[in-house]
């Protein structure tokens, strides 16, 4: 089987199940434990944003599609919320002092830094965020 897919209610209480879906599948497909942690982090950050910001009338839904490509383990997060391209966001100011440090903006930044391939596309009424890691420790 090369692709598996599951749809979840997009609310904070289901995030642990979404993370479990991704990490159990990654483990079964032989992704290195360290990279599974990176994936889990990206899934938590991205789905938390979908649950919090994507839908004008929450909760909406989020579909997670997992593909076992030859070189990469890829997941796509698909929602029907407001258009939002996380790749277009500026990185937070990491040098800011404690006092001025903003509490937000980190989630998207971590997603971009932890994975090997991240890209966004808008497809019809859907946001598609594609996240991938290589199988090995790297």
């Amino acid at each position: 089987m090369e692709t598996v897919e599951r749809t979840f209610v997009a609310n904070l209480a289901t995030i642990p199940s979404m993370m479990e879906f991704v990490s159990a599948t990654a483990e079964a497909f032989g992704v290195h434990p360290k990279r599974i942690m990176h994936l889990e982090l990206a899934v938590e950050e991205a789905t938390a944003n979908i649950c919090s910001y994507a839908y004008e009338i929450p909760p909406g839904e989020v579909t997670i599609k997992i593909s076992r490509e030859i070189e990469m383990f890829r997941i796509e997060l698909i929602d029907s919320g407001v258009p939002f391209d996380p790749m277009a966001m500026e990185a937070p100011d990491l040098k800011a002092e404690l006092e001025s440090r903003q509490v937000g903006g980190l989630g998207v930044f971590l997603i971009r830094r932890m994975l090997d391939d991240v890209h966004y596309s808008r497809s019809g009424t859907q946001n598609v965020l594609s996240l991938a890691v290589r199988y090995g420790e790297k």
């Binding site: 889990e40 938590e44 950050e45 404690l98 930044f109 971590l110």
Partner: protein, 110 residues
Amino acid sequence: MNVKTQAEKGYWVVKLEGRLDISNSSQFEQECMQWIEQGQRRFILDLGGLEYISSAGLRSILAATKKLKAQKGSLSLCALSGLVEEVVTVSGFDNILQVYPDLTQAMAEE
């Protein structure tokens, strides 16, 4: 997540085990605020047993640190490893918080 606390040499040592994520970070933040209200001022978070942290977790630590600074207190981290070390570094939190290799050094140098 398991949270164990201990008062030691004037420090409030908080040992975290497991995962600090969106499902428990606001509860953890509340606990920190309660400890501060109870008069604790010099926090050391021992993250030796922490396996996972997300931005929600960092946010709760940042909130506690700001509160402590406002009360002339302090918060430092120690014994980071694996993903936790990576997330703290990548997010630049090691620039705004004191980070020590282990609890002994955190208590010696803070």
